[in-house]
């Protein structure tokens, strides 16, 4: 069974540009989460989808971040316009029932 997959693994962009990160959850998992780790800080929750609905987006830092999960399958996280402080690793995770979260390998974002 395939795990959580994320694309791209690494993205380098300039300040002001747009980046879109993609996450494919484990097949059959209704719950999908985005987390991120910025330099020197702990891994922090961004938001939670249940199927296509946003269940909790309390961790989204500001309106430059937009997450979607059309059709309840894969999800995208768009950063527009990117700022220097957005650099870090963006993790996606999925889960089904109360068995814990399974994380992808992360997408490293570098904003220059």
């Amino acid at each position: 069974e395939a795990g959580v997959t994320q694309f791209p693994s690494h993205s380098v962009i300039e300040k002001g540009q747009t980046v879109t990160l993609r996450c494919d959850p484990i097949s059959g998992h209704d719950n999908l989460y985005w987390y991120r780790r910025v330099m020197g800080k702990e891994i922090k929750f961004l938001l939670h989808f249940v199927k296509e609905s946003k269940q909790d987006e309390s961790g989204m830092p500001n309106n430059r971040f937009l997450a979607e999960r059309t059709g309840g399958t894969y999800s995208t996280l768009k950063v527009q316009p990117a700022e220097l402080e957005d650099s870090g690793v963006y993790f996606c995770a999925s889960s089904q029932d109360s068995i814990g979260l399974f994380f992808g390998e992360g997408s490293r974002l570098t904003v220059l």
């Binding site: 719950n31 702990e42 891994i43 929750f45 889960s95 068995i99 994380f103 992808g104 390998e105 490293r108």
Partner: protein, 111 residues
């Protein structure tokens, strides 16, 4: 919100040694997980353990929910065990997936 503290922050072991990593949390939890971040950055789910004891090969974990701590045991450590070990928890009554992560324990196993 809940605070998650891990100790020690860094640990260096000789291959074959055993170790215990600790995670303290400040409030009741309904989800607690241990993860291993390997050198490639991937977060590997080790244990889902809000209470009790589980074992998986050379690894085992115990959570004593009433005393608000969890322990991860690594026996007969191997160089491939190197990396950062994270504990993450969800406040009792909180959203299941809103994990609060500790700062991690960086483990280096020397050959």
């Amino acid at each position: 919100g809940i605070q998650v503290e891990q100790s020690p922050p860094d640990l260096i072991l000789q291959e074959g040694a055993n170790s215990t990593l600790r995670c303290n949390f400040s409030d009741s939890v309904n989800n607690l997980q241990w993860f291993h971040q390997n050198p490639w950055g991937q977060l590997i789910n080790l244990f889902y353990i809000p209470s009790g004891t589980k074992q998986n090969g050379r690894l085992s974990a115990t959570t004593v929910a009433t005393e608000r701590y969890s322990l991860l045991y690594i026996s007969s450590s191997q160089t491939t065990d190197s990396g950062v070990y994270f504990c993450a928890a969800v406040n009792y009554g909180g959203s299941q997936g809103n994990l609060i992560f500790g700062k991690g324990t960086k483990l280096s196993v020397k050959p």
